[in-house]
Symmetry: C2
DNA sequence: ACCTAAATTTAGGCACGCCTAAAAATGGGC
DNA sequence: GCCCATTTTTAGGCGTGCCTAAATTTAGGT
């Protein structure tokens, strides 16, 4: 049914537009690192498939059908389960898992998916804090917000970090930032300056510029029971 | 460098012709389940690659170059490590591992290969008793011979079984045949009749026809220290 | 409403990996 | 040494997934 190119396209639409928004040709071209012309060809094919993966109107982008969304979530489930498996079972570091998962997500069977899910205890989040879609297509939800919008003087817990830049992951790891870790925002420096914050129990203060802060999401601290 | 089609072709040449014999177009077509014409095209490409994967003379088949053999062994190493990993870590049964490994062998990185080899303790044989090539391209060797040639009245140990037919593997499993198990050949029935033998400590006598017996290799019993 | 820049689609092309049908080479039997 | 069955190659074609260049559509600014 679905080739690797098709799966990647559906996943990209989901990541750019979510459940019911439309993804643009240009956005997909950027995400997939292929030309806009190639995207147009792919979108036409996906919408003319029977049954269709997407709903597509020329010049107005693509939206996933139920089938398309189910397939996208299936691939994302593979990706995130594999990431966690590589990290926990095969001792991959945080920044190595994404690239390997990007290939393996298309190669594993449903059996493999089930077995690693079982070995991992049916996990809900991957090593970067991203929710792992369940087999039925629902997503574990965790209310979180952008670090950028955090109130100075407050505490929060790291919810998730972007997994696309290995060097950024290495840096975050080196200063102790990972999902579940508590942070305290001291202040936001003026004119879109860096966020000054403390990580965990570390006394050091770190300056987070826009790029770095923009790749982190946080959630309110839960019962800060000492 | 190597696509999946190329890797499969090199592996097939190795399996049909070994290190230094030539594989025929027809043999490869059968093994790869593609047309002879497609094989010819592939062989031409492999021999004209720079550096070449094979040595090829029209109408006289293909022989692996050093590079081609190294690549074939690399893929076979992936395959057999993955089979053992699926069996040991993910609880796959004996007959399920081959199909999954056939896909994954092309998708994993060198890192993945190293990590599963390490988790498994640098194993030398896969679940079917096939030798796992080492990273340097050498093969663990275990002198074995065909069950067909076994002397009636003697004992031996199962060395390896063919892994291509899942139903045969299920059957062998059900009667207790797996690498390392001791067998005793009672007699060979006349006119190419079945081999009558006992498996392990089981009192039952099993009849092995030509198909079944031909898929099993054995080795002399090692120190039968009670 | 129109004009134009940006986004998108169309047109044409290429490599890969496969196919079938037709042509050609091989080699064993005589 | 020739013939013919078998094997192999050549010729031509197809779908996928990508490309570039040219045409077209859209939408924002006035
Ligand atoms: Mn799945
Ligand atoms: Mn992730
Ligand atoms: Mn390898
Ligand atoms: Mn095997």
């Amino acid at each position: 049914m679905g080739s690797e190119a098709i799966d990647n396209c559906l996943k990209a639409i989901y990541q750019l537009a979510g459940d019911d928004e439309r993804a643009t040709t240009a956005g997909l071209a950027e995400q997939l690192a292929i030309s806009p012309a190639s995207v147009t060809g792919m979108l036409k094919k996906l919408s003319e498939s029977d049954p269709p993966w997407i709903e597509y109107q020329k010049h107005h982008g693509a939206r996933l059908t139920d089938r398309g969304r189910a397939r996208a979530l299936e691939i994302i489930r593979h990706h995130r389960l594999i990431e966690l498996f590589l990290h926990r079972v095969l001792d991959y570091s945080w920044d190595e898992v994404h690239v390997e998962a990007e290939k393996l997500e298309h190669a594993i069977s449903e059996t493999f998916e089930d077995r690693i899910a079982h070995v991992l205890g049916d996990p809900e989040f991957d090593p970067h804090g991203h929710p792992i879609p369940r087999r039925d297509g629902t997503l574990p939800d965790r209310a979180d917000s952008d670090l950028i919008d955090m109130e100075p003087g407050t505490d929060a817990e790291v919810s998730r970090v972007s997994d696309h830049d290995p060097t950024m992951l290495q840096h975050l790891s080196s200063i102790g930032v990972r999902p579940g870790v508590r942070i305290h925002l001291l202040e936001r420096r003026p004119f879109d300056g860096p966020l000054m914050l403390r990580v965990g129990d570390d006394r050091a203060v770190h300056a987070f510029g826009a790029r770095l802060a923009g790749s982190i999401r946080i959630r309110d601290i839960r019962s800060t029971a000492a």
